[in-house]
Every structure is written in C-alpha cells, then in structure tokens.
Amino acid sequence: TESGGSGDSGSGDTGSGGAANENLLDPASYKSDKEQSEWTIGVVTKDNTAAWFKRMEVGVNEFGEEMNINVIQKGPANADAASQVQVIEDLIAQGVDALAVVPIDPGAIEASLQNALSQGIAVVTHEASNQKNTLFDIEAFTSEDFGASMMDSLAAAMGEEGKYAMMVGYTTSTTHMEYAEAQKARQEESYANMELINGGEVPSAESEESVDVAYEKAKELLKAYPDLKGFTGVASTDSPGIANAVEELGLSGKVSIVGVGTPNEFSDYIKAGTINELQLWDPAAAGYAMVSVAAKILAGEEVAEGTDLGIDGYESIQVIEGTNKMLVGNAPLKLDESNIDDYDF
C-alpha cells in the first residue's frame, strides 16, 4: 500500500504555483466507499470564537444532524495562517473524509490542501475564490459582486458624490483586499463624482481587526480629510469602530457607513442611523452549503449548475470556472433599519 503523501511527488510538471494536477481535482474520484454515517467532515474556520463562525457552526451542525454525518468544526487558537495550517494538517493526519475550509489566507494553505487531496480527502472551501487546491469553492456571491454591492449602497447613501475611505482588517488579508479592490472598481466605473481619499490608495486604513483601532483610525481620517463623506469597512470590527468615531465627532448623518458584520452587533448602530447598511451573507447557510457540497462529493453525486444545496440562497447554484470551480449562490443579505430585526445572530 502506498503511504500517504508519496503519491504526489510525481506530479512534477503541473506547472508553477503547485497547482494540483487534473486528476486530483476531479470530484468524482472522491466518492467514499464508507457508509454515510461513518463519514467525518472537518470544518476549519479562521477563528472559532468569533460570532461569525459560531453562527457558521449552527449551519454545519444542522446539516450533520439532518444527514447523520459526523461533523467537526475546529479553528486555530490564533487567527494566523500558520496556526490554521497546523489545524488542517492535524485533521488530515486523523483521516477525515472531507475538509471544508474557510482560509485565513488561501495561498498559505495550498500545499496542505493539495496534500489532503492527494490522500483522497475531498476538499471544499469558502471565501477563497482563487484557491487552487479545492474541488469546489462555495461563495454566497462573488467578491466582485459583493464589493460592487457595498459600493452601490455607499453611493446611494452619499448621494453618489464626495470623498470616501475604505478600511480593511489587514492589508495582508486576501479577501478583504479583494472586496476593497472590487469596491474601488465599481466606484470608478459608475460613480465619477465619488473619490477615494489618499490618491485612490487601497485601502485607506487598517483596523487590525480591532474595534478600537478602527475607531482611532476613523477619527484620524476624519481629521485629515474634513470633507470625508463615507466609509466602508470589510472586517466586522471596522464599522462599529467607525460608527463610534462618527458619533463622537458629532458627524452622525453627515458621514455614511456601509460595513460587513453580524446583525446583532450592528443592530443598534443601524437603528440609530449611524451605519447605513450592513452587508453580509448568513454564515450558517454558507456552512451548511459547504458541508452539503462535501457530502455530495463523498456520495458521488454530481454538483453542477442549478444543483440545490438544500438551504436558502443556495437552492440553485451557479458554477463559475475560474481558478477553481466556484459555486455561487444567491445569498446576499443587505440589512438596514427595516429588516435588521429579522435576523438574530
């Protein structure tokens, strides 16, 4: 019997970037011989304590119970790509049947995921549109759509004119930067009277995933650019921090904010009108969809355009061929005063 890991050493000529070879990426070859009840699907999150991923766990567990499949959701102790690699490696070593990963950094886990695939473990991802070593990447929508949608909301709030600023968690955060770039692209395309501050540099500030830093930076930005009219923040820490700053400076209503986060955390700000709109997707649904795809692969079922993943927003998925097979649902949530109370997480 061939020991794990040695099978891939022959894949020498798949080109640069360590992209997996074609066979590895054929979902059909991951059909499991085991009983469904013996499957184990490992879900790896960025940070298991965050409200976001606790919500995801709801969806993941729901699927596990419905289908009587063993699901494990684990996250690293630190939101650091290296720690996440360790969690993935350990789950691989323990012989899970499928991995569903929300990468902290897609690039950093390519090799680990390739290793998983080469050992016959089905891999699906979420929030990783450019992940190479994955069978399917499940998205509530594309980064482009998401960024564009945020920009549309901001533009509407700002009356389509004026200066705005963008905040991300870290410049090293790939998804955040994608969303930020997409926002800028949409603005340049559609809103000529709007202007990204600082000569259009993306992003305008880093919140370091800290509400407090977001607050400090927002204040500084408002000082440095007195004519600033709008903010977007793609980390869940950003908008609350920005909103606190705007409130303190007495600019509520004069400065618009569109951000990403969870409804409960944003509810007060939305109701007070400090944050104009919250954009997100339901992590529970995304988690459900991820494990659902993983289970379909293990069962040998085909996942294609129009497949129903069994949860709201993913009833009829769209397949986009790009770096990988991206399964895009239609699950954006845009929450404002009118509907924020409909969601509780």
Partner: protein
Amino acid sequence: MKTALKTNEPAAPKTRLSFIKMDGNILRLLIIMLTIFIIASITKPSTFLSVANFLSMEKQMVEYGLMAIGVGIAMIAGGIDLSVVYIANLSAIVAGLFMQKFAVAVSGPEQIFFIVLGILLGVLTGIVCGLFNGFLIAKLRIPAMLATLGTMQLYMGIAIIVTGGSIVSGLPEPFALIGRTNVFGIFTMSFIVYIVIVAIVAYYIGKTKYGLKLYLLGTNEKASKFAGIKNNQIIIRAYMLSGVIAASAGLLSLARINSAKADFGSSFVMLTILIAVLGGINPDGGAGKILGIFLATITVQLMSSYLNMFPEISNFYRDMIWGIALILVLIVNHVLNKKSEAKLMRLTSQ
C-alpha cells in the same frame, strides 16, 4: 611556564560530572516526551500511530522548531530574539519574489541555478537581519528585548512594503518539491534538513570555542570582556546565527506551503520563547542546550497533535496547557536542580 607551587592539596581526581547539572534536564525532557508518546499511542492508536500523523507532525514542527533554536541562542547570549518569525518571513519573501521573477519562466539547469540563487538570497537576508539585530544590541547597547521588538516591526514593515501585504506564491516546482518529498516514506525532506541544521548548530554551540565563549559571555558579560573575549563579535554572531536559522525556517516554510507572507506565523513568537525555556535554556543567559530545545519542540508537537485529535477540545485549551506546562517544568526543574546542587555541595565539602 612551569611555576608550580608546593601545596598540601591533593590533585583533583578525574570524574566526569557534567551530567549532574544539565543532562538531568535532557533526561526529564526525554521522559516527558516518551510519556506523551505512550499515552497518545495507547489512547489513540489508529490515528496517532499512523504514518500520515508522523509526516504531519514533522512538517509542522520544523519551522517553529528552528526559530526556537534561534531564540535559544540569543537567550544563551543573555538576550532574546523576538524578531525570528519576521526574519523568516522576510527571507522567504525575498527568496520567493526572486524565484518568481527569474526561476519560474525558465527550466532545466538554469532554473535550478536561479532557485539556488534565490535560496542564497533568502539566507543572506537572514544574515543581514541578524547582523542588524546584533549591531543594535552589541554596538548601540539597546536592550535585546527592545531592539528585537523594534526590528520585529521593522522586518514585518519591510515585508509589507515589498509585497504590498499580499501573499507571495507561485514558486518553481523543483523548489516546492523540497517541501513535499518524503524519504523512506516516513521522513519529510524538510524534517531532514531540520535535523541536519539542529545537529550542526548543536555541535557548533556545544563543541567549538565560539560556543564556549557564547556561554561564558551569557554568564557574565563584564567578566568575558575582561577575559579578552570580543563581546561585540560574539553577540553579533549569535544574532546572525539566529537570523540564518530563522531564514532557513522561512525557506522551508516557503517550500512547504508554497507561499510566503509578511505576517505568517505571528503566533509563533511566544511559542518559540516557550519552547526554548521548556528546553532548559536559562532566560538569564549562559546555560541550556540546543538538544534540549529540539526535544522540547518534539514534545510540544506531540502534545499539540494529540490534542487536535479531540475535536471537543478547543484549540484555545492548548494555550492553557502550554502555560501550565511551562510553569510546572520551571518548578520541577527548580526543585530537582536544588537537589543536585545540594549533592554537588556535599561533594565539594568533603
């Protein structure tokens, strides 16, 4: 110059006693390591005692294991190196960018040439970073903790500047092979490189006059100056060594995960200090062995992988376990060292 004196003291009889002081620690580490191994093997035989698990553990421990050695060397010199993780990242980024630019497009021997050049460039980055740390600490006399705290930000800053914060990936396949090749099916290539580096460094620190001077300097900097040791040179070399080791960790990580990033492994900063101390390095300088760090690294990895086999145990408990282990090890070492000290005293006073 024979200027012997007549004394009534008998000549010292020769017995080797060095084991009393240090090797007790090594022995203890071995026992802890084996205990964890046995417990894990008994409670989780199928998952723990699998080739896949061993390969996975080997891969994981290499990078922070190397960085812990860098930290350990700085600690032996009486300082600390908080910047290792970021030296590793910067080196990997420099090497990665270079290979991306020159080695991906070509093939054959030319490609190998550029890959080797890229590796050398990465190592050089480590040397320069280490040299700068050493310069700040030895020449400018900035306390090591503060100097490396500053350079930690500085090196990360440089890495962010050159990459714009994004990930460097897309490396030539032959290089990535280093990260994936297994020898005899049970050793990863990077683990073998790691073992070789550990062996060289352990020999260098343990057996050469440089190493001896390093320990003496770490014991008493002033006395070492008065003994004609070139303190500055020794300190600078210690941080350079730490830088080179960190760079090799960065390069191995580059090969393994096929990418490099400015803030990769930020959680390793504390872990490396913890491992160095668990391994018996005296944080005040002058004592401890590289072998101890190696054993501590394995111990931590065994424990870590074992814990990951319990899905119900959150990874955050690991922090707690490290903390408790660290303090327990300190206390146990303290009690046992006291005992062996007493033994030594008994031996010296007839």
